[in-house]
Amino acid sequence: MPSAGSSAALSLRGLSKTFGSTLAVDRLDLEVPRGSFFGFVGPNGAGKTTTLSMATGLLRPDTGTAHIMGHDVWSDTVRAKQLVGILPDGLRLFDRLTGLQLICYSGLLRGMDRDTVAERAHELLGALGLDQEAGTLVVDYSAGMTKKISLACALIHAPRLLVLDEPFESVDPISTSTIRQILEGYAASGGTVILSSHVMDLVQRLCDRVAIVAQGRIRAAGTLEEVRSGMTLEERFVQLIGGQTNVGEGLAWLRSSSG
């Protein structure tokens, strides 16, 4: 049934998740329009990873619904999963495979034919600058290479929506720029990207829409201009979340001016 969410790439309604006695996500609503480059920002422990996991079918919510392109993630699972490519944070990979094998595995698991998978895998390795390392085991990859190979796994089936949890964490500037270019090209051709990040500058430069989340709830969401309302995203973020202001006043012994 095409619902109100069918126009949105991702639509979350009243999502909640409790772990033990901690409420990780609290009746969260979020609408990500198609074709947007969406930044999902928040302090540590705000519920970003939990929300994105529930939105992509990795974690079953206690209450609420998630729709991808109008398909319910928890009842129309197969169709919804075909439309989305994900890069989770903090989960392992099958790291005894070579980079090439890992990408092909993602494609073959989705039932794609081998020739298409192999051709796309080689193209992706080339675009990500990993063709020299195609035959190296993923366990021997650096952090940046691991993020890039995960991105390739998320892209192999040409998804309409990309959900990336911390895609730039511990990635060097050169790999960051490669990943950025690929994502910008993907978005320019009509794809939708959702990414979570701690780096406000990067989100401000990349994304056209943002949501600020804290304690499991959305604090602000909309276009980048609406949310930052004249300030930089970082200033707005600190203002909303309430950062510490008088940092370092007591640490007199740390100042070396007297010496």
Partner: protein, 523 residues
């Protein structure tokens, strides 16, 4: 500095006990068992005071040498278990090495194995309290022996931790040592049984007494037997061995402290530019899962060591025959292999760890996941089952039993697959993570592990009960019953496989996100 490091070790030991009540209970039970063994050993050593000096020497020198050898190789098998005082962790503190070496050595004595070794060393003093000189030499020799044990284990663990920067090297050595130990156990026990002639034991003890592992233990024995100069010479040599071990350790420690992260990126791993098994298996989701499983079985030491055990355990059934007993045991090889191969898959999903998210994210069907995972063991079984069945027949000369042996093996394998397909979707239990020591049991997991293993094992056994009855008919000489058993195994096994994978697939599809949550929790 020594006091500070020893205090740190003591604190770590105490905090280790503070974790949880079940862990503490387990430790106390294990401790009581250990105390029992220790009490037996100590009273044995005291009793040896009354035995003939030659006999006492044989026991003390052989036992002591094995103990010291154990200290030397234990860190290789047990890497990742006790890294509490990994020397490279001191690299960022400006501690001079001259203070660090004695500190780490003395802190190594603050551990349960060291306490046991000290007590055993003290007990040998009683064993040798036969003359004044022996009473004087024995405590010195025991102290040298205990310190050498600890120093040797530090040498191995430091050398090993330097090597462990290279993943492949560490994994290879660890699997190799396991195989050597298992092989030594198999060969050693049968040799010991056949050749337990007393003169041979004396010869072994005499040779060991001159090796670095036996010098310190044999010194007081020589003196008690009246060979004073030989005893003093051995004591001097034992002290030299201890000093050499300390020097070697100091040398290795310099490397660990000056280059705490090791030279990374040196050894290139597999360069395999093709698709490997992904090019050989059918290009379907089930084929992909199969190719991934096979690749992991070939490259991940956790699987390699379990394959090695599955190969070796059935061979262990040859022991009774080798040591002159009944040859009937060798007939059990194929059934045992079938049982182990099928049953061992009941926790396969846990070895994926959180990498399992790839299956969740791609929405792969339960059937493809269940069937694909069986591929590596099915391939191994296609060689091992006929092989072990033939070996059993050849050793007993009863080829008419082949269909029965192969049939029971096949029945166990296929029903095992069926049961495992259901169990692994229901309740994964903790296993060592990828890259961790394959022999380390994750703490606090034992109850769940035992229950799941017992349920899976009992289910497989009960399902095969009719098959076992028929096969025993074949054993009594009714050849036709062997063929009947093979036919029944095919029918029963296929039914169990089809039903098990179907049911397992349904559970899998209902519980996919919960499985990932389980795997995240038990990681």
């Amino acid at each position: 500095m020594v006091a500070l490091i020893v205090g740190l070790k003591w604190q770590l030991l105490k905090n280790g006990l503070r974790r949880s009540t079940p862990a503490l209970v387990g430790l106390i039970l294990g401790g009581l068992y250990g105390l029992g063994v220790l009490a037996v050993a100590v009273s044995g050593l005291i009793a040896l005071r009354l035995a003939a000096p030659g006999e006492a020497r044989n026991v003390v020198v052989i036992g002591g040498s094995l103990l010291m050898l154990g200290w030397a190789i234990f860190p290789v098998v047990a890497y990742g278990i006790d890294e509490t005082l990994d020397p490279s962790r001191f690299a960022t503190f400006a501690v001079p090495r001259r203070q660090l070496v004695p500190g780490l050595l003395v802190s190594s004595l603050v551990s349960i194995p060291a306490a046991v070794t000290v007590i055993l060393g003290l007990a040998t003093v009683i064993t040798w309290s036969r003359s004044v000189l022996a009473i004087l030499v024995a405590p010195v020799a025991a102290a040298v022996a205990v310190l050498t044990c600890v120093a040797l284990s530090r040498v191995t663990s430091t050398a090993f931790s330097a090597m462990s920067r290279h993943r492949r090297g560490r994994e290879a050595v660890s699997v190799l040592v396991l195989l050597l130990a298992a092989g030594f156990g198999v060969v050693g026990s049968s040799v010991m049984k056949r050749l337990s002639a007393p003169d041979l034991v004396s010869q072994v003890a005499a040779v060991l007494g001159w090796t670095p592992f036996g010098l310190a233990w044999s010194a007081p024995a020589e003196i008690a037997q009246g060979a004073i100069w030989s005893g003093l010479l051995r004591l001097a040599l034992a002290v030299i061995v201890l000093l050499a071990a300390l020097l070697a350790w100091d040398f290795l420690l310099r490397g660990a402290l000056e280059n705490p992260l090791g030279a990374s990126g040196g050894g290139r791993s597999t360069r395999d530019t093709g698709l490997g098994w992904f090019g050989r298996m059918p290009a379907t989701p089930a084929g992909a899962v199969a190719a991934r499983s096979i690749t992991s079985w070939l490259r991940d030491p956790r699987y390699i060591s379990s394959v090695a055990l599955m190969l070796l355990l059935p061979l262990g059934l040859l022991l009774p025959q080798l040591s002159g007993g009944s040859d009937l045991w060798s007939l059990a090889m194929a059934p045992t292999a079938g049982f182990l191969l099928g049953w061992s898959m009941h926790n396969d999903i846990a070895y994926d760890g959180t990498a399992f998210w790839a299956h969740v994210a791609t929405g792969v069907s339960g059937r493809a996941d269940r069937l694909g995972r069986l591929a590596p063991t099915a391939m191994a079984a296609s060689v091992l089952l006929p092989g072990y069945a033939s070996l059993g027949c050849a050793l007993t000369g009863r080829w008419s039993l082949w269909p029965a042996l192969f049939g029971v093996g096949l029945g166990f394998l296929l029903t095992g697959f069926g049961v495992a397909s259901v169990m692994s979707a229901l309740k994964p239990y903790p296993v060592p993570g990828p890259g961790e020591n394959p022999f380390a049991a994750p703490p606090g997991s034992s109850a769940l592990t035992v229950v799941v293993q017992a349920i899976a094992g009992t289910a497989v056994f009960l399902l095969n009960l009719p098959l076992l009855v028929i096969a025993s008919g074949a054993l009594m000489g009714h050849t036709w019953m062997g063929w009947l058993g093979l036919g029944l195994a095919l029918c029963l096994g296929s039914a169990a496989l089809v039903l098990g994978t179907w049911w397992g697939a349904r559970i899998y599809e209902r519980r996919t996100p919960e499985l990932l949550a389980d795997l995240t929790r038990i990681r």
